[in-house]
Amino acid sequence: MPKVTVDGQELDVPDGATVLQACELAGKEIPRFCYHERLSIAGNCRMCLVEVKPGPPKPQASCALPATEGQEIRTDSEMVKTAREGVMEFLLINHPLDCPICDQGGECDLQDQSVAYGRGATRYTANKRAVTEKYMGPLIKTVMTRCIHCTRCVRFSEEIAGVDEIGALYRGEDMQITTYLEQAAQHELSANVIDLCPVGALTSRPYAFEARPWELKKTLSIDVSDAMGANIRLDSRGREVMRALPRINDDVNEEWLSDKGRYQVDGLTKRRLDKVFMRKRGKLTEASWDEAFKAIAKAKPGKKIAAVAGDMVDCETMFAAKSLLGAMGSKLLEGRQTGMDYDVSNLAAVNFNTTFAGIERADAILIVGSHVRWEAALLNARIRKAVKNGAQVFVVGPEWETTYPATFLGEDLSVVSKLPKAAADAFKGAERPAMIMGGAALAKGALAGGLAFASKYKLVKKDWNGFNVLHFSAARMGGLMLGYAQKNGMADIAKAKPKVVLSLGADEMDFEPFADALKVYIGHHGDKGAHAADIILPAASYAEKDGTYVNSEGRVQFAEKAVFAPGDAREDWTILRALADALGVEVGFDTFDQLQSAMIKAVPALGEEGLANYGDLPKADSKAKAEGVIDAYPIKDFYLTNPIARASAVMQQCSAELLHGEEMREAAE
């Protein structure tokens, strides 16, 4: 622990800290552009200059200078002040004065720091450099004249995303940041470079010229596009969510967000169900709430009522539906829409036990039936970190493009019980072995085989639990905690022949077996579920209601309501509450608070934000073997996995251009 003095204040800094970090520990603000905590150190913007003794009699870049014993650092001297003014003046030489038409305006590092550290006027009168725009795909808008060459975007795509596609071409004044041949950035985390860009060179294309940061209402929310539960901030103006940005949470998403979570929000205003619809003579026609409720009551479901939870519903909605069904005497609850029927008697066996942050420490990882890059893009970045720290990764399932070296062991699940020698050796020698089972493996009934693997290779040790199941529905873990699971999955629901099926935003389910039932869709988008429904009750999306979500690692998180639902749409729980009255039963709550406390009373873990404790893994049946061949992963199109994304023009464009661009070009030829 070196002892340094910052502006006369003595302090101990951790070994390996830089002078910049030492200054921050001392509470001093150091301006910077290229330095970023999660990226490698570049030291090329020179904005973080400080005076350091002993050392050469000139200012030094604090981000790249290690803090050593006895250093005297000054951040407030005349030398530092003039150095910062000088760097600022140089940076602004070629930076256009177009802040009034720049989307970064109001949240721009260059703007803020030139106010704080610049000298207020330029002495440069010659022509400024201009750089042509570079196409980077449908999400990233570029104005490269504004670029100050911090190379954060280059380092992000190389280090975090693992897709080397952005680079700095030419040199000196002519340096230009671009993708190879201006191809679109093609990975699931590409838009994070927009947040990283300290100036307005890379801005959000869908959000271009939409709003200024100071006119937006900021609401803390949770991303529901996958089961990562990324912490997001919804920026809204009036009744419209303008954009979603990641919030920092080192346990979950660090400070990244997948492109889908970020850009599906424009789908919140499109294809919305904002009126009650009823199917009359085979055709969906507008109706009133009263009419709809009467029709449901007329079906006299009694015990024969079932509820199927969709992928994006919050726990409160599921609990409200559970209470309603409970009052009717039914237990027909299911959330695994596609018919999966894995054993949920012990939730630890279907949880991501290692935790997302913990997987970085694993030294051998077996991925079984999960296209991690698409099912949890942020987790893929974590696995990449593990690989960088020396982990070996093996994958069972069809090949996909990993962003790290990985060995594919074929598509046959039986390989899990008899690993090839190289993989077996890696797991025997591993200190912290981990396995990740995805939806494709669960669908083949490989859970027991996975547990057998876990006990064979001792995945559970003191302070380490390497057995993981990775879900990709934001509602999944919450649903399982609330009992949304039948022994044989959807098959049991179908077998019970319910008279009324409540689909809580369930769009992926098969409505075929319920042809005779009254299908009531309570959801927010006119998608597959609404097409099949007899009655549509318009409800709220995740942005339009408070709600609790549990992510794949069992982390309970709370999202807040950002905007009001459009038209006649209501928050889901109020619909279910009103339905209870129509059906003449008592559910025991009249307000959201009552509903929430009833839910927490029933499942106490949902009341505490943070990791839920599911106890130990069940004892594995050592004879259990995983069998079958994984022919495909459940996600066919990363950008179109849920009704909101499918309604989003941006996601449709991404899908067409980034995933099907090749086919389109071929067709054009």
Partner: protein
Amino acid sequence: MANRHIAPDTPELRERWGSFEWTKENKAKADWHIAKYPEGRAKSATMPLLDLAQRQVGAETDTQGWLPLPVIEYVAAYIDVPVIRVLEVATFYFMYNLVPVGKYHVQVCGTTPCMLRGSDDIIAACKKRGMAKGEVSEDGLWTLTEVECMGNCATAPMVQINDANYEDLTVERLDAVLDALTKGEEPKEGTQEPGRHTSEPSGGPTTLKDMVDANHDYRKEW
């Protein structure tokens, strides 16, 4: 210099260079370069391989050579490095030509010492012979580039033509060199000043004169 740009990615370019691969000798050389670095560090061989590729393109087209995009992609694939990383290198260094050049790439130094010693005349002389900056002359022989300091300030002004330097130039001496090249001869490299060997002071040594013929111990004279 600021007008460096990558040759556009056209179907013709792909057709002409898409099937580029090392000749047998060059493959051996490429592998020799890669073998200089530890296993898995083939990335370190980016620069020699780009140079080798440029020379091979030069041999194929009877020019100094350049780096078409498919060739850059080939080099990147050969050492398993993302192509953008190789392109960064290729665009950074001026010795990699990004567009086609002539058989003789005349690089005239225009930095201060050479300029003071008359590089403007040299450039004018080149232009008079039909060369234009950044362009290939009609006969395919010449490309003119003005470059920054080549480190021959003691024998300024100078030009670099492909792998050879020609120093102590006057317009006449430059013409003689270029004429010789046109005829396919190999003019004398280095200084063109009669009686001068390399970059020693012109008109004979001015210091350490006693050292010219034999070793001399100056210490006694201090």
